[in-house]
Amino acid sequence: MAKHHVTTTINGESVEFLCDTRQTLLDVLRDELELTGSKEGCASGDCGACSVLVDGRLVCSCLVLGVEAEGKSIETIEGMAKGDKLHPLQQKFLEHAALQCGICTPGFLVAAKALLDSNPNPTETEVRYWLAGNLCRCTGYDKIIRAVLDAAAEMRGETHG
């Protein structure tokens, strides 16, 4: 079957790719574009390891077809750090040891960034509710929640004890 030609913007850069209709956006990112930061966990939209932003909205890239990305702006974990400078969320995940195996981490970071972009001062409940679509099977959630709240405080310019 003929491949589809798709034009998108990924992390601010214009990107074109060819894909089979059966390839998900996650397949395209990982297998065609070598953007392997987004992970495949469950492949059915439960775990959130493949989270990316499509036109600013947090979605599971395993449940978006590559062809659906035509004309869309996509943000992935690869666009989060600026060169060698980590995003405050990434830095706080390190400081709080909010990861162990790391498979869920890119999804959590993308999801948390989407939250802080829309709500710079979330409550703990709001953070937990927002991150309900991201599963972690080893670190546990407390360190992740603390890292997000600490990063939010730092990004607001508050010192945090």
């Binding site: 209709t21 998900t24 939209g45 909205r57 947090l58 449940l63 077809l65 062809v67 999801a111 309900a132």
Partner: protein, 265 residues
């Protein structure tokens, strides 16, 4: 996934042409159920007709006593809508409880209603409010639309365009979610509409969403959770699985219904 062709129509008319009433062709809305189904090879469509770029299918409007929601409107849009929150706050609340953020950003009301998953939230709102499902061909009352697990009145190729909800005097939705999936183990939507009290239950019935007429009759005597005490819903015909037995679900219907009546105030 098996191979399929992909179409991206720009209008309703073009979508109809691409589908052509062919049972082997499927419309793609948010894909939250369809894509996992394709991945598991439980469906083998020859063609997917993507509805995402059809502007006339999305959007929320309130006119008089009616809230209309386009079929391709995302759950997140309904949950965040100030218009919906003002006219039918219970509906915005229900939308905010669906799945997780990633699901609410992709899943659509039309897709949820057309799929009629027995544990989905929206069918309870449609039945509880006495909503109307508008398709490209006709208008169908919610009471006639839902016809059993994953079964609806839709004919092959028939496409939902919007759902219209009458604004109730009061309404509320309470659900006991499966803690992992957030699907309803039991969800109860209660409302007082022009036709009297309505009580609709999702998550529990083996044949999908249903009304509890005994509770509706009791509430005609006055809107009070106490009036529902002692009304037992039989466990016969309820789902039983690893999450909950039919008897437990029957018990939860009473609990969620009383909480919903109390929440509606």
């Amino acid at each position: 996934m098996y191979e399929f062709a992909y179409h991206r129509p720009a209008s309703l008319a073009e979508a109809k042409t691409k589908h052509g009433g062919d049972d082997d062709r499927r419309y793609l809305a948010g894909g939250m159920t369809l894509l996992p189904t394709l991945k598991h090879r439980l469906a083998r469509p020859t063609d997917l007709v993507d509805l995402a770029r059809i502007g006339e299918l999305a959007g929320i409007s309130v006119a008089g006593n009616t809230v209309s929601i386009g079929a391709m409107t995302k759950h997140a849009a309904v949950a965040a809508s100030a218009e919906v929150a003002k006219a039918i706050p219970a509906l915005a609340h229900l939308a905010s409880l669906i799945g997780d953020r990633q699901v609410r950003n992709r899943g659509t009301i039309g897709g949820s209603v057309a799929n009629n998953d027995p544990a989905a939230d929206y069918p309870a709102a449609l039945l509880g409010l006495g909503a109307t499902v508008h398709t490209d061909k006709r208008s169908i009352a919610a009471d006639d639309f839902f016809q059993g697990m994953f079964a609806t009145a839709l004919e092959p190729g028939e496409l939902i365009t919007k759902i219209s909800f009458p604004v109730p005097q009061k309404a509320a939705y309470q659900k006991f979610p499966n803690p992992a999936s957030r699907y309803a183990m039991v969800g109860v939507f209660v409302a007082v509409t022009g036709g009297g009290p309505r009580v609709a239950v999702t998550g529990a019935g083996a044949n999908g969403v249903f009304r509890v007429t005994a509770m509706e009759e009791a509430l005609k005597g006055g809107w009070s959770a106490d009036r529902l005490k002692g009304i037992a819903v039989p466990a016969d015909g309820l789902n039983s699985d690893i999450h909950a037995s039919a008897e437990y679900r029957a018990h939860l219907i009473g609990v969620m219904a009383r909480r919903a009546v109390a929440a509606a105030g």
